[in-house]
Symmetry: C2
Subunit: 339 residues, 2 copies
DNA sequence: GACGTGGAATGAATGGTTTCAACCCGATCG
DNA sequence: CGATCGGGTTGAAACCATTCATTCCACGTC
């Protein structure tokens, strides 16, 4: 292994002190133009690259923020990551994207990795519902921002989308299209999102004078395509099939669409489908899916910006906040009323 | 900002020297059981977390490897990332996943971020075809492994899949199903993959005694769903439409499927479709897509392992190698011969 | 009782950068 | 002419964990 060229080598070669080289890099305005040019050219000539670890050691914090998502296979989180990444880059930071796969233990492993790295902060959608992960972060006072989750007891920021409104948007749309019995393909019951989306749907039904019996819940184990297929088979086995399905996310909806289509049931004529998240593949399905759009990239960006504010030079004026964004219904072929 | 508890605090509290604390953490067998327990409990009590930057500063390299992919929105790369991540974690490293979005300039930005971080190494699918990015890495002697690309002139490892064989698999399958004119929806022409897949297809056609005129190339700007839709419209506008389409990747194929279906053309009866990559959404389409499966996770894992070998304790015995994996055809509904 | 042995613990040196008080020197002011 | 100012530069401290040569100690052996 060849020795790395350090700031000292540059200083010697340029005939200045290390302090001056540092200034050339970090506060060029303090250095005379002549010296600056000379140092710059030596830097280029020697191929000097500053060592982030040394800089970090002094600064006490790194220039990396962590993003810990539940499922990298879900395009929704990919969009979140994109948003966060672009905000971070504007501030000259890197993002370390990691995938907990919904496992609290992997989540804990990553969090300890992050604390060792002294990351600037963590953006996360916790997989652990007990809050133990957050305690870990608090203990090390690593700033964090919750993504796609409200910070209930609030000692951190959060960015989320109002899922009750989202559910209601879907509900009103289906009711307006004449549906009177709707299936809800939910996900793991401990997820707040899943509950809120149902609540919104129930609210919309109530507005139309329909009781909770109009909503038939079909639980799904996970929020992925396979779980959607599975739930759809159960749906098809029912004696009295609802005329519409609302899915807790688009992956489920894609699974449903596949099974329903294979069974020869026409969408939307015999069955309307509404998904949630509006991932790219929802629009790209053979029958484009109506979906409740979450501003995923926007969420990622906001989360990153909140973190930057909390850890930036103006940290003192930072007050934790809970940003709640609004979802939007995107109507496509899978739920269009048939004329 | 509260001061971080350092190794010195632990040492003082436990009544030992800093060297001993370090030994407890890194070489516990050198320390007597009694001392070890005492130190461990102080560590827990104080919530001490070692500073990776300080450790790194001495070690000269970090415990993070970078993965730079072309498109995080493509599930293929997500699988690559998963494979790399799992191999890295087994070795106690973290992976920093970044997205160049095929832009050489973003790629360069990330590479300079990586060199500053002194990452252990970089796994990448270069967006820059001139090789300038690799030069940057070589210059700083940062080890790298090419993913999904062969290392032609070889001064690094690479892991790729034989795309010519992949194309041939698709070709033989379609020929066997009786197709005699096939459209090839390609991607950006400078991508080697795109060329190799076509070459394989031509080879399969030749084996069946068909000349290059049997393959009709329809160029696509990018390798995504929208480009697939676009190419499909052009396909449908043709006077003499081929009976089968081979797409350079699954995203294109999904776009094609959507447009073709909307035009009322039955798949596979009127048009067979074969994709490439075998992403989850290919199997999840309404008409499940036949696709050439690439062992994406396996590729990510191998790449990470090669990097670990190159930078690990046995680096001396490391010889660069070019691993070439084999693709596999997964036949599904979109190309089944109609009885 | 002198010496050797080996396990356990020590503490100083090391690494690269940033920061800041101190310094130098030419120019301006009184 | 001396004092002051300020732009430009310097040099050393600080950051924190690791490493390794050294010291310490208890025990056993001759």
């Amino acid at each position: 292994m060849v020795r790395m060229v350090g700031i000292k080598d540059v200083a010697r070669q340029a005939g200045v002190s290390v302090g001056t080289v540092s200034n050339v890099i970090n506060r060029p305005d303090l250095v005379s133009e002549e010296t600056r040019d000379r140092v710059q050219s030596v830097i280029k000539q020697l191929g000097y690259v500053r060592s982030e670890s040394a800089r970090q050691l002094r600064a006490g914090q790194s220039r990396i923020m962590a993003l810990l998502v539940l499922d990298m296979g879900n395009p929704f989180f990919v969009d979140v990551a994109r948003g966060a990444e672009s905000a971070a880059r504007e501030a000259g930071l890197g993002v370390m994207v990691c995938n907990s796969g919904q496992s609290p233990s992997e989540e804990a492993t990553y969090i300890s990795l992050f604390t060792e790295q002294r990351v600037r902060g963590v953006l996360l959608t916790p997989a652990d519902s007990t809050g133990a992960s957050l305690d870990l972060l608090r203990q090390q006072n690593v700033p964090f921002v919750l993504v796609d989750r409200g910070a209930g007891d609030a000692d951190g920021c959060s960015v989320s989308v109002d899922d009750t409104i989202g559910g209601a948007l879907a509900g009103r749309h289906l009711v307006a299209a004449g549906h009177r019995t709707i299936a809800y393909i939910s996900g793991p019951s401990h997820l707040q999102q899943v509950k809120d989306r149902r609540a919104g749907m129930l609210q919309a039904l109530a507005e139309a004078g329909l009781g909770p019996e109009a909503l038939l819940e079909i639980p799904a184990q996970r929020l992925d395509v396979a779980a959607g297929r599975d739930a759809a088979s159960r749906l098809l086995g029912l004696a009295q099939r609802p005329t519409a399905v609302f899915c807790a996310n688009d992956l489920l909806a894609l699974g449903v669409l596949q099974v329903v289509y294979a069974a020869g049931i026409a969408v939307p004529r015999d069955l309307a489908i509404v998904g949630y998240d509006d991932i790219e593949f929802a629009a790209a399905a053979v029958v484009p899916l109506t979906s409740v759009r979450q501003p995923a990239a926007e969420m990622g960006r906001m989360a990153a910006e909140l973190l930057l504010e909390e850890t930036g030079p103006r940290a003192a004026q930072h007050a934790h906040q809970r940003a709640v964004l609004l979802p939007e219904l995107v109507v496509r072929g899978s739920s269009l009323p048939v004329r």
